[in-house]
C-alpha cells in the first residue's frame, strides 16, 4: 500500500526551540511503544531466523529435497505468470473503471468484494467448485457434453494454474484501484488536446496514459512481487501443496517444514529466496527515495 514514501515534506523548522528538551523526551516516550514492537517482533525474529539458517548442512538437505526444486520452479512460474497477467488486467480495468457511468460506479463497489472479504471461505468455495465428483463445474460439463469433467486439482499444472487464478481473483481489485487512482490523476486536458489532433484510443494510451503511469505500474509490479512471494493462502487452501507435494511454492514449503518441526530447514528455504527478494527491495528503495 505504501506506494511512495519519498520525502517531499516541507514542514518549517520547529518554533518551540526553548522547549525542545521536554518535547524530545515526550517524542521518544511516544515513539517507544512502536520501537519495542519493531525490535521484539521484526528485528529479533529476522536475526534469530538468519542465525538458525547458518548451518551449510541445511542447504545440502534442501538441494537434495525434490520438493524444494519443484517449489522453486513453481514459485517462479507463479510470480512471472501471475503478476504479469494480474497487472496487465489491472491496467486494462483501471481504464474501464475510469469511465463515468452510474452502473460502472456500482460495479466498482461490487468489484472490491474479493479484496474486502477474508480469503479462506472464498478460496474453499473455489476448491469445492473444482471438486471432480460434486463440484458445480464438472456437473455443468456433464450436463452439456455428457462426459465426466477433468479431475482439476489432481493435475499439478492445472492445480497451479488454478492457484494463480485464485491469487489474481483476490488481489486484482486492490491493484486496479491503485492504478485507477494514478489514471485519474492524469490531467484531462491532455486527452482533450489529443482528441483535437485526432488521436485514436491506442495513441492516447501510448502517448498520454502509459508515459504518465509507467513509474507507478513498475513500482506496483515490484511491490506485488514481494507480496506474492509471501502469499500462502492461495496455494495452501486450494491445493494444500498437492497432489504429491507438486504444487508447493516457497511460502507453503517453508510452513510445511515448520509444521514438520524442521525449523532450520524452513529458514534455509527462505534464505534461498533472498537473491530474488533483495534486488526487489533494492529497486523499490531506489524508486521510493527518488
Amino acid at each position: 500500500m505504501a506506494i511512495t514514501l519519498s520525502g517531499s515534506d516541507t514542514i518549517p523548522a520547529p518554533p518551540l526551540s526553548s522547549r525542545l528538551t521536554t518535547q524530545q523526551v515526550w517524542g521518544i516516550l511516544l515513539l517507544a511503544p512502536y520501537l519495542l514492537v519493531f525490535l521484539a517482533f521484526v528485528i529479533y525474529p529476522v536475526c534469530y531466523g538468519l542465525w538458525l539458517a547458518r548451518d551449510p548442512q541445511n542447504y545440502v538437505a534442501l538441494y537434495n529435497d525434490p520438493i524444494f526444486a519443484r517449489a522453486a520452479v513453481n514459485t517462479l512460474i507463479f510470480l512471472v505468470v501471475g503478476i504479469n497477467v494480474k497487472m496487465l488486467i489491472a491496467l486494462f480495468l483501471s481504464g474501464f473503471f475510469a469511465q463515468q457511468r452510474p452502473w460502472i460506479k456500482w460495479l466498482s463497489v461490487i468489484f472490491i468484494l474479493p479484496w474486502a472479504v477474508p480469503s479462506i471461505p472464498t478460496i474453499l468455495s473455489v476448491r469445492f467448485m473444482l471438486n471432480p465428483e460434486w463440484g458445480v463445474i464438472n456437473h455443468l460439463i456433464f450436463s452439456f457434453t455428457g462426459d465426466d469433467g477433468p479431475n482439476w486439482l489432481n493435475n499439478p499444472a492445472v492445480a497451479l494454474t488454478m492457484a494463480i487464478a485464485v491469487h489474481i481473483w483476490k488481489s486484482l481489485p486492490f491493484w486496479t484501484l491503485i492504478l485507477l487512482t494514478g489514471r485519474l490523476a492524469i490531467p484531462h486536458d491532455l486527452y482533450e488536446a489529443s482528441e483535437v489532433d485526432g488521436a485514436n484510443p491506442w495513441q492516447k494510451f501510448r502517448f498520454i496514459t502509459w508515459p504518465s503511469m509507467q513509474t507507478l505500474y513498475v513500482t506496483c509490479t515490484l511491490l506485488s512481487m514481494i507480496w506474492t512471494l509471501g502469499d500462502f493462502n492461495s496455494v495452501y487452501l486450494l491445493t494444500g501443496g498437492g497432489p504429491a507435494d507438486l504444487t508447493h511454492v516457497l511460502s507453503t514449503l517453508g510452513i510445511r517444514y515448520l509444521r514438520l518441526d524442521q525449523l532450520s530447514l524452513a529458514m534455509a528455504s527462505i534464505v534461498v529466496a533472498m537473491p530474488l527478494v533483495l534486488p526487489l527491495v533494492y529497486f523499490m528503495m531506489k524508486r521510493l527515495s527518488r
Binding site: M1, A2, L31, V37, V42, G49, V117, I120, V126, A273
Partner: protein, 283 residues
C-alpha cells in the same frame, strides 16, 4: 429526450462486454458460497445453480452448534472478535503516538524510524511467519491470544504510522503553537488538539487494523491451536482435515465469517477510500 446515437450505443455495448465478465468473475466464488449456505446437502452436491428447497436450516445448525465441527463456534467467533478489536485498539494507540511524535514533535530520527518500519512490508508475509512462530515460542506466547494480537499489530502498524503521519503533516503548525502559548502541555496538546482533529484518519486506520486481524489466516493457524483458543478462519481450515467434510456447513460458517468485514468495509467506505489512499499516489 435525445435518442442515443449509434456511436454511443456502440461504446456502451463495448463497456458492457467488459463489465459483464468482470461481474461474473467477481461474484462466482461468493455466490457459490451463498448458494451452499442456503442449500440442503443434497441440493448443494447436485451442482444446481439455485436450490430446489432453499432453507436457512444450515444457519440454525451453526448458531446452535449442532455439529461436531461447530461445537465451539461461538467461542471461536468471540476469539476472532476480541483479537480483531484488541489488535485494532493497540495499533491505533501505538501508531497515533508514533505519528504524533514523528510529525508534530519532530523527534530526532523519527523519519528514519518510519522508513525502517516500512521495511516490514518488504519481508514477504509467509517468510516472516516462520521466525515469528519460533519467537513467540521463545516469549512463551504460543497458544495465547496475545501472540496473534501482537503479530497483527506488528504488521498493521507501519502502514498505520505512515498514513497517520501523512495526515498529521497537513495540520497547520500554528495550532500547536497557539495551544502551547495557552499553556497546554504536550500531553494535553495530544489529547485535546491532535486526536480530535485526526478523527477521520483514526477511524480509517482503526477499521483497517480490525479487518486485517479479523481476516488473518496464516498467523492465526500457526500461533493458536487449541479448539477453544482458535479464531474462526482456523476452525474453517480444520474442517478440511476430515474426508467427509460437511461442506454446506463449512460454507455457511464461512459466509457468516465473511459478512462482518464486508459490512464494515461498506459502512466505512467513505473514510477508507479517502483516508487510506491519501498520499498513496503522488501526482
Amino acid at each position: 429526450m435525445k435518442l442515443p446515437t449509434l456511436k454511443e450505443v456502440g461504446t456502451e455495448a463495448k463497456l458492457l462486454l467488459i463489465g459483464i465478465p468482470v461481474f461474473i468473475w467477481t461474484m462466482v466464488p461468493i455466490y457459490h458460497m451463498f448458494l451452499f449456505a442456503i442449500s440442503p446437502k443434497e441440493d448443494a452436491f447436485s451442482g444446481k445453480l439455485w436450490p430446489d428447497h432453499p432453507t436457512l436450516h444450515n444457519f440454525h445448525i451453526v448458531f446452535y452448534q449442532e455439529h461436531y465441527f461447530l461445537r465451539d463456534f461461538w467461542i471461536q467467533f468471540w476469539n476472532s472478535t476480541v483479537i480483531a478489536l484488541s489488535a485494532g485498539a493497540l495499533t491505533l494507540f501505538i501508531a497515533t503516538a508514533a505519528a504524533f511524535s514523528i510529525s508534530r514533535l519532530r523527534v530526532p530520527g523519527g523519519r528514519w524510524v518510519m522508513n525502517l518500519a516500512l521495511f516490514t512490508y518488504f519481508i514477504p508475509a509467509a517468510f516472516l511467519a516462520v521466525p515469528m512462530y519460533r519467537t513467540m515460542g521463545n516469549y512463551g506466547l504460543l497458544n495465547n491470544h496475545w501472540s496473534l494480537i501482537l503479530a497483527m499489530v506488528t504488521i498493521a502498524s507501519p502502514y498505520a504510522i505512515w498514513v497517520l503521519k501523512q495526515a498529521s503533516d497537513k495540520l497547520p503548525v500554528e495550532l500547536d503553537e497557539a495551544a502551547t502559548m495557552d499553556g497546554a502541555t504536550t500531553l494535553q496538546l495530544f489529547r485535546l488538539v491532535y486526536v480530535p482533529l485526526m478523527m477521520p484518519s483514526l477511524v480509517a486506520i482503526g477499521t483497517y487494523a480490525v479487518l486485517l486481524a479479523w481476516n488473518e489466516y496464516l498467523y492465526a493457524f500457526l500461533l493458536l491451536s487449541k479448539d477453544t483458543n482458535i479464531t474462526l478462519p482456523v476452525a474453517l481450515g480444520n474442517f478440511l482435515a476430515a474426508d467427509d467434510s460437511p461442506w454446506e456447513l463449512l460454507m455457511t460458517t464461512g459466509f457468516i465469517y465473511a459478512l462482518p468485514p464486508a459490512a464494515i468495509y461498506y459502512a466505512f467506505k467513505r473514510y477508507m477510500v479517502g483516508g487510506l489512499t491519501a498520499g498513496a499516489v503522488k501526482s
